[in-house]
Symmetry: C2
Subunit: 210 residues, 2 copies
DNA sequence: TAGATTGTTAATCGATTAACAATC
DNA sequence: TAGATTGTTAATCGATTAACAATC
């Protein structure tokens, strides 16, 4: 693996799509796939796929294609999906509730290890064997359960405060659903998931298309 | 407005962020803002902001900055937020439930006009004055209520079928939460909101950061 | 007028596409 | 061997950053 080379964000964001499509292809019984075929299933050019993969090594066989099982394993390792990250969801409102029930996370090797809320009605609820804890215990529980990722699903007004506590408790990554910027030390990676961007850009394009 | 020039997707995706930050600045009582200050609040360079805005016209005053109220109106028009788009959510599972309760949509001028599900327990439910209808009535209701945007929140296996019906019923845009590609005619714009991408890329970066 | 800040042009950087040699 | 398909280099395209003239 070429560790020196900086890989583009665009490439990283495509890898999960490759991974998912390969797994689906595997379920269909496919053992070998060409960049042509994979590209067709994904809506990405074959050149793009080969270039993206080449950044990490040589996974294919010339004149043959890629072995599906092997490529799944390789991409999984690149993405770190073999590490079984633990995550905590903070804020069990409508969105948090949807997130803790989202099945694809488990399929990707992520483990829901804790949930937090301020609302006494939510606290104590059991979701798939995990209990909603009061937000006061966030530092304690995150350390205790070795949680790496914090998911922010609280209102905007509390997002920064929650981020600060998550960082203080030692998480290394934050997945932020609050529609605002959050400030964290450089050692912590933030991925923003801003739902209003998608809908607004759709509005933009609809306004232009005849 | 320079209609000829193709505006980059990156620019379009930043406009909603500008819009939101400007509205918040306005709530704080700010009447004039410089690209410097706006950039600081957003985490974007001032040059980037000026370039993005310049693609649509001259909204600022040299030596002064941008009038907040005016710029909000201008960006709102560019994004088409003044058009009061109507949208329908298909699939009132955990995610669909969260979406129909998401308040920011209304604040952006989007109107939830219909909901659909196959589950008899969901059908007939009233959410904020809108009733969940059986999916059989999708064509009829979308036409009747002049719905422009369809939101797909059904399982992957049904996403394409729902997309086909939405397109058949005449929606012009689809906001797809199912983790798969959907095929539509060129005249229909699709925005994919794939939650597993965000989490996977977070996993990637965590694996690399020391 | 002097200071500030935009809008725009030029320079740089990065990502995609095209082409093709290597090789299974 | 002939056909197919990768991996990689070169060419193009697009987006960001830097610089500065215009002007409030």
């Amino acid at each position: 693996m070429k560790d020196q080379i900086i890989i583009s964000k665009a490439t990283i964001d495509r890898l999960p799509l490759y991974y998912r499509t390969l797994r689906r292809s595997q379920e269909e019984g496919l053992e070998i796939i060409s960049s042509e075929e994979l590209g067709h299933r994904l809506g990405v050019t074959p050149e793009q796929i080969r270039k993206d993969l080449a950044a990490f090594g040589q996974f294919g066989k010339k004149g043959v294609g890629y072995f599906v099982r092997e490529l799944i394993r390789n991409i999984g390792e690149i993405l770190g999906l073999d590490r079984k990250w633990s995550f905590a969801v903070v804020g069990i409102g409508h969105l948090g509730w949807a997130l803790v029930h989202y099945r694809n996370f488990k399929a990707l090797g992520f483990h829901l290890a804790a949930m937090f809320d301020v609302n006494p009605e939510k606290i104590g609820q059991d979701i798939g064997g995990v209990i909603v804890d009061p937000i006061e215990r966030i530092e304690e529980i995150i350390k205790e359960r070795n949680i790496n990722i914090g998911v922010i699903a609280v209102p905007q007004s509390q997002a920064q405060a929650v981020a600060d506590r998550l960082v203080g408790a030692g998480v290394r990554g934050i997945w932020n659903f609050a529609p605002c910027k959050i400030n964290v030390p450089e050692s912590v990676k933030v991925v923003n998931e801003d739902l209003s961007v998608g809908l607004s850009s759709l509005s933009y394009y609809l306004g232009r298309m005849l």
